[in-house]
Symmetry: C2
Amino acid sequence: MSEAFQDAYPDELAHCYGCGRENASGLQLKSFWDDEETVARYSPRPEHTAMPGYVYGGLIASLVDCHGTGSAAAAGYRAHGREQGSEPALRYVTASLQVDYVAPTPMGVELELRGRIEEVGERKVVVAQSVTADGTEVARGRVVAVLMPDAMVAK
Amino acid sequence: MSEAFQDAYPDELAHCYGCGRENASGLQLKSFWDDEETVARYSPRPEHTAMPGYVYGGLIASLVDCHGTGSAAAAGYRAHGREQGSEPALRYVTASLQVDYVAPTPMGVELELRGRIEEVGERKVVVAQSVTADGTEVARGRVVAVLMPDAMVAK
């Protein structure tokens, strides 16, 4: 299997709670290409409840966020004909996040996020997403990601 | 100080990862009235990083989500002239969540969320929010909350 988008982030930019391999307490979401779509899978932890039996919407928003910025990085590299992870790093942050919850999300099921690249600009990438649980769509998301400002890089 | 909106949720609906008092691993966000606005404060944990030094956007989305549904419940009780927490419980879930990130959010600062009730309908409440860190607005949010479907109540 190819390397996850997030595993190609440089070490100093791999501490994200949602997807950083350097964040031991975090969710460690991993996203991959599947043809023209991007895909990530995540099994919510028992504490990630909304009402008992259902998954917390804030967790879903977090997954959409990280699958969005990860997909943006992958799309940026692809659009520039560059190898994933090559320097200077293409690392994106979220400018805008939209999630529509279309059905209650049952606990105990692996969630799948599928991303479609809607737009790749010089600094901006837009990623539309569908989140499914056991084949049922439970949420739709949209992330506007922008290249990380230089000021955010720790000195 | 008055009781937090979330502390008035019935026990069986108080397991939310973002704001349930029965969720020991969760964020336990608490929201209150401040005149016509609603307010909540939260200090991110050390692991809630995006890039080192900055707060994870998915955490902010989670706080906006729970402050939104909490504010919706409070607004619902107020609109119906009912005492907070009185039965049958007014418990809302998120139909739609929008967050615009307007500035990087520094770690080590308590965040404040302020909600403004934009609309209170029979089943739907819309809450606009502003998130600040040390007086600087870092995000704007909007939650469309709807009364929880009966099917979500654990039998």
